[in-house]
Amino acid sequence: MASLASPRQPGDLTGWTRWANTHRKWLFAAPAMTFVGALIIFPLAWTVYLSLTDAEGSVRAESEFIGFANYLEVLSDTDRFWPAVLRTVGFTGVALLFEIVIGMAVALLLWRPFRGERWVRVAILLPLVATPVAVGMMWRLIFDPNIGMANQILGWVGIGPQPWLAGQHSALPTTIFIDIWQWTPMVVLILLAGLTALSNEPDEAARVDGANAWQRFRHVTLPLLMPTVIVAILLRGIDALKTFDILYATKGRGGGSFHEVETLNVYAYGLSFDYNEYGISSTVLIIFFLIIIGSMWALTSRRKKGAL
């Protein structure tokens, strides 16, 4: 009877069942890995290759290998490329800053249970699951300089009408505002999950020692919550860098007629699908990809060193 007491092993089986059970690790993982390999690794390799060629026009046209010429051209382009880099970094930096600060404040307010909590949670979920393109259209109406509610509200408090999305300098800040409206709830949910997982004891101990609310937050809660804050920055930062839908919905192709909201993603999209400049576009994308990976790496390595 001793043999029945030990778990059944693949070795006890025969034929196909035995093979499947012995190799289940790869049998289970292989379909997904193949899919990812075919749809991601191969296209990525192709993008690297295209960035070294002069591919343009039709996707079927002949192209020549030109080495790093595209990279030289892109990196010396102060007309479209570098402004797009600045907009991408600025958009992400400003949006992240507001989303983390406001998100932290709201998460702290929601931390302890209270009556009516359910309704606040419903309100927080709505922007998160709303379709970004529809959100863009919604704000486009609200921010319309002539008929929008935003200027009407400003009028009530005696401030003159603003151009919002239509202004050459106000368009980017307005899209940042939309991003903050839609995605601060994401930060709230993540930080709230982190806060809920914290033990109450350190906070209580600090309270007994006479620390005030700000001191307890600054020296007890925040350091304990820091890993979750980093996760929120990482997840939100990656998506903010790649923002496309609301920019396209509010300003259309090329980020508006003066490219006022043209980020790297919008620029690369336009190069590929409006101008068919596949070589240049791939170069922009590789640089963009390196920027994303670089900032992720910087963030996670600082965290490992304990600097954050």
Binding site: Q9, N21, L39, L109, R121, L141, I292
Partner: protein, 274 residues
């Protein structure tokens, strides 16, 4: 809960602050829905901002003339198929990656979250246009799986990490094969995790815009792309546009509210592991 006799200043502050948060999150959405029931004349009249006679003409326009019923069907089909296929591929993969600690393989799948979608679209467009698939459902569903599969793997890996291995071992003691133990013990226990992953995958696929913008055809357009039919070069049909936006986003918001618990656990999956 016992009724409090007096509110502390903090409680008053919290109530006011959260009221501001709720209003600023919900009011714009209500404004969109309200505008979808206004005539274009009323939308242009600031005197009718709140006092207007609701009309259904924008919705009849969207559903009858703009062919939205077909686009709703397209969106449903693409999101449903991408979700089911992602679960079929993703559930066993997440299980293997969790049980056998395949962190490097997992990282490859999660790369999909980091890569800018545009860089995949050019090669896809090249390959699929040679196969004459651009504009069809196959390529749309495949492209949406690029978003949903990593999501499924990410959420379920965390879920499987939390399931004790002892349960499967006891099943094997009772005569199940390792795969049998996965099918009869782990899979049923994972129902909440699979539901979470499926719901999130459906929402993200429904909301996806960029892939359908490039890869869909006139007959396979999904809703986020179809919205742009109401944006002309010279003028915008605001009433129609707001009705279209409401049709796209209201159903998904209502679904999310019904399954709020799953949506929240999916969105915050892995957030607290650090």
């Amino acid at each position: 809960m016992a009724r409090r006799k007096r509110r502390t200043p903090y409680q008053v502050f919290r109530a006011v602050a959260l009221a501001v948060v709720v209003v600023s999150l919900v009011a714009p959405l209500l404004w969109m829905v309200a505008a979808s029931f206004k005539t274009n004349v009323d939308i242009y009249d600031s005197g009718k901002a709140f006092a207007f006679t609701p009309v259904l003409e924008n919705y009849t326009k969207v559903l009858d003339q703009a062919n939205y019923l077909q686009f709703i069907g397209n969106s449903l089909w693409v999101a449903f198929a991408a979700t089911v296929l992602s679960l079929i591929l993703g559930v066993p993969a997440a299980y293997s990656m969790s049980r056998f600690n395949m962190r490097r393989s997992a990282l490859v799948v999660l790369m999909a979250r980091v890569i800018p979608g545009v860089s995949l679209l050019v090669p896809w467009y090249y390959v699929f246009s040679n196969l004459r698939l651009v504009g069809g459902f196959t390529v749309l569903i495949l492209s949406h799986m690029f978003v949903s599969l990593p999501l499924v793997v990410y959420i379920l890996m965390g879920f499987f990490d939390g399931l004790p291995e002892e349960l499967e071992e006891s099943g094997q003691v009772d005569g199940l094969t390792p795969i049998g133990a996965f099918r009869r013990i782990t899979l049923p226990l994972s129902a909440p995790g699979i539901a979470t992953a499926g719901i999130l995958s459906f929402i993200f696929s429904w909301n996806n815009f960029m892939f359908a913008l490039v890869l869909s055809g006139a007959d396979t357009k999904t809703l986020p792309v179809a919205i742009f039919d109401f944006v002309g070069y010279a003028s915008i049909d605001w009433g129609g546009l707001m009705a279209a936006s409401t049709v796209v986003t209201l159903p998904i918001m209502l679904i999310a509210l019904f399954v709020q618990k799953y949506v929240v656990s999916g969105l915050t999956a892995g957030a607290t592991k650090g």
